[in-house]
């Protein structure tokens, strides 16, 4: 009898410990999935649409993300900036945020998506030990953002197949990549949530007659496609020119690469193949993605400093330089902002009737000097009808 009681008591104690672990973790998972990220609509934002305005099939899903429209008084070209394809690459979302909260359009139309794969912003990578969130310091306090993952949340798309066959090329990809927004372009209307999201964005590109689609990313330093503009063949000249101009004028170097024709599902390939838009993808360096990184925490994410990766660089294993100064978030955000502006300026010079004139967006040097947070606006002092939550 005493033995039975002892084993029962033991089970209760173990179970309580398990429940405590689940409770603490569960609360953290829930909070992050429901964390609201405020977007203070800048004066330039004239309309806020949703992806379901372009494809009804995505209505009511977590990926029915906002599309911020900034329109100039004078007609011109249309550019789409896609942030949050891989939310674990925060400079991409933050650069898009800066455009949304600051840009003023005199001519043309700028469309910005901050959370292209919103589902992927609500989860963190298994085994990746990512922090659940990060805070960007601003003059009015800090603004908290969800860390996010590379793949859609399994709570929104489950199960995975045993192998992912890309539509329409039938190329076989890792099963997990069926939840990777940059492997599911051009998407399809009756596919998975991630495929439907790509399909919705493709519909947007077609309906809004987008001239240039720019997909923002970050990459590990051990990956050859880094600090570069990857261009579909329809955007090679523009990307090459931008690369040259940036290296000469902005204070940093960026390369240019052609989108491989045999690799399918990526935005730089499929947007160009399935729409009339010029398709470009920008990569900035993010040390926290490197497999050789040391301690994984918010400091690494935002400061980008890591001794192990410095050592990898000394052994010639990196495709981007890495020293004790690291790759702070301001540098990465600044690269994206300047590159987008240069691309648009070069395009506008060549296409007067389809030009875009954008003001009030900080460039690389200004973002490094003042910090990314200097360009995020205080939701507490903004009119309630000028705030959206991502």
């Amino acid at each position: 009898m005493a033995y039975v009681k002892l084993t029962t008591l033991r089970k209760i104690v173990f179970s309580l410990a398990g429940v405590a672990l689940m409770l603490f973790a569960g609360i953290s998972f829930y909070r992050i999935r429901h964390l609201k990220e405020p977007v203070v609509l800048g004066q330039g934002v004239t309309q806020v649409k949703k992806l379901s305005d372009y494809f009804k099939g995505i209505k009511g899903t977590i990926n029915d993300s906002y599309v911020y429209m900034l329109e100039g008084e004078e007609a011109g070209g249309t550019v789409l900036v896609i942030g949050g394809t891989h939310p674990e690459e925060p400079a991409a979302r933050l650069a898009a945020w800066i455009f949304t909260e600051n840009a003023l359009l005199e001519q043309g139309k700028l469309l910005v998506i901050l959370s292209a794969n919103r589902s992927a912003t609500t989860v963190t990578r298994l085994g990746g030990a990512y922090p659940p969130d990060y805070t960007i310091e601003t003059p009015w306090g800090g603004q908290k953002f969800r860390m996010g993952d590379r793949w859609s949340n399994p709570l929104d798309q489950w199960p995975d197949p045993e192998v992912y066959i890309h539509y329409p090329s039938r190329q076989e990809l890792a099963y997990i990549d069926i939840r990777n927004l940059n492997r599911t372009w051009p998407g399809r209307p009756n596919g998975t949530l991630t495929e439907k999201t790509c399909f919705a964005i493709i519909q947007l590109i077609k309906e809004e007659n987008v001239d240039i689609a720019i997909d923002l990313h970050e990459a590990e330093l051990q990956y050859p496609v880094i600090s570069t503009i990857v261009a579909h063949q329809n955007g090679q000249d523009l990307a090459a020119m931008a690369s040259m101009m940036i290296s000469g004028m902005e204070g940093f170097d960026i390369g240019m690469e052609n989108s491989p024709e045999a690799l399918h599902g990526l935005s730089h390939r499929e947007i160009g193949d399935h729409t009339d838009a010029i398709s470009l993808l920008l990569e900035a360096p993010e040390p926290m993605l490197d497999a050789t990184r040391g301690r994984t925490d918010r400091a690494l994410l935002l400061e980008g400093k890591d001794e192990f990766i410095v050592k990898a660089g000394k052994h010639g294993l990196l495709f981007e330089k890495m020293d004790e100064n690291g790759w702070p978030i301001d540098k990465r955000v600044g690269r994206h902002c300047s590159t987008i502006l240069q691309i648009i300026e070069l395009w506008s010079e060549e296409h007067q009737e389809k030009a875009l004139i954008i003001k009030n967006v900080p460039r690389y040097k200004e973002i490094i000097a003042k910090g990314t947070g200097a360009f995020l606006h205080n939701p507490a002092t903004a009119a309630s009808n000028r705030i959206k939550y991502e």
């Binding site: 405590a20 672990l21 689940m22 603490f24 973790a25 569960g26 953290s28 998972f29 963190t124 298994l126 085994g127 990746g128 030990a129 659940p132 199960p159 995975d160 197949p161 045993e162 192998v163 066959i165 539509y167 329409p168 076989e172 990809l173 890792a174 099963y175 997990i176 990549d177 069926i178 990777n180 492997r183 399809r188 596919g191 998975t192 990459a219 051990q222 990956y223 050859p224 496609v225 045999a262 690799l263 399918h264 599902g265 490197d290 497999a291 050789t292 990184r293 040391g294 301690r295 994984t296 925490d297 890591d306 001794e307 192990f308 050592k311 990898a312 052994h315 010639g316 294993l317 495709f319």
Partner: protein
Amino acid sequence: MFTSTQIILAVMVAVYIVAKVFKISTELSLFLAAISGALAGGAGIPARHIVEGAFTYLDICLIFITATLFMNLFKESGGVAFVIRGILTKFYRHKSILFILITFLLLLPGALTGAGSVTVLITGGMIAVVLNYMGIPKPKTAAIIFILAGLSAAAPPVSLWAMLTAAGVNMPYVGFFLPLLIPCILLALLTIFILGWKAKPANLEKALQELPASPRGMNWLKIILPFSVFFFLVVAGRIWPFSFPILGLPLMFIISATVTIIISPAKLNILKISRETVEQLLPLIGTLTCVGILVQIMTLTGVRGLIAITVVTLPLTAVILSMSVVLPVSEAVLMWGAAPVLGVPLVLLFNTIGLNPIIALAGMSIIWPLGDALPPTAIIGRLTKDTIGMKEPYSQMLKYCIIPAILIIIAGICMVLFSKELSFLTML
């Protein structure tokens, strides 16, 4: 950062060893090593990371549970006994044909699912009985099944090591079919013919007498139907990927299990078999879950990076030569976690020095599964021993694995070294 991370690693190793000394199971020792790492790294008891790590292999656990449930139901329905009797009666005189047939039967389940354990569970048990009646001792039989299960997991179309590494370096999983298929088939045939060299044609009468009788009403149609359903579901997803719903392997196994239940001539106690299945798989699922937690904590504290940077900054000759030890050992400790921890930096390293990353990764992928026989996890090795009911010490099975393992390692390393010359295999 180096010294502090080295200290954390030392604490984790020490706690693991102490736990083993105190006769704590491998699974819990891994868990304790993870917790001690978090404490040593100043992260306290990080509930979020522990639970997130436990999620890493949830989908793979679901595959294991449903596949094993399917096989257990099939076994209880009398299907296994019927199949073995059938195979023996038909082919007992022709050793070579039987070996080729067995190779095919052992490679298929793992190739389709990416898990060697599915091979062990689905066909391993049945084939072990056939091999035993051919005069092959159990440890040798276990070695054959273990090695072929490992090769089946590496074989295309689904090779999780190649897929996870490819995904980790943003490389599409394309061009791997022949570089994985050819070595896997050749090495599997070599293994079965080397280890089964002394096998005799089975003594049919004696074997049939000893084998359990199959229940009345069992026939080939009832055997083939559940497997045909499974095979159809897998193939249909590939032939009509855009119109056939994504079922996922666990649901495919459940559908096949349902077919087995419906057509079984024997009455099956589903609840009891389900409970026993979970009990039977506790070590496997426990190991996977604890390894997930361990990898998460290693990443959190920087230990994972320390291991990766140490390996990739060795002189190149040392990197390639040490792969024969490092890859199986990383598999033994981290299982599929070895792909993101070591596979990713190694493939990037090979790519940097101009080797063909696809062939090199395929070569690594055939070496990795060997680690599944090694402690601390020895997960597929233990499963094989249990499934075929081997009573001899585990080391006897390992002894017979040595020759095929050496051949596999040589083949794998040659694929890395001559990856440029072999790049035609990718057909790209």
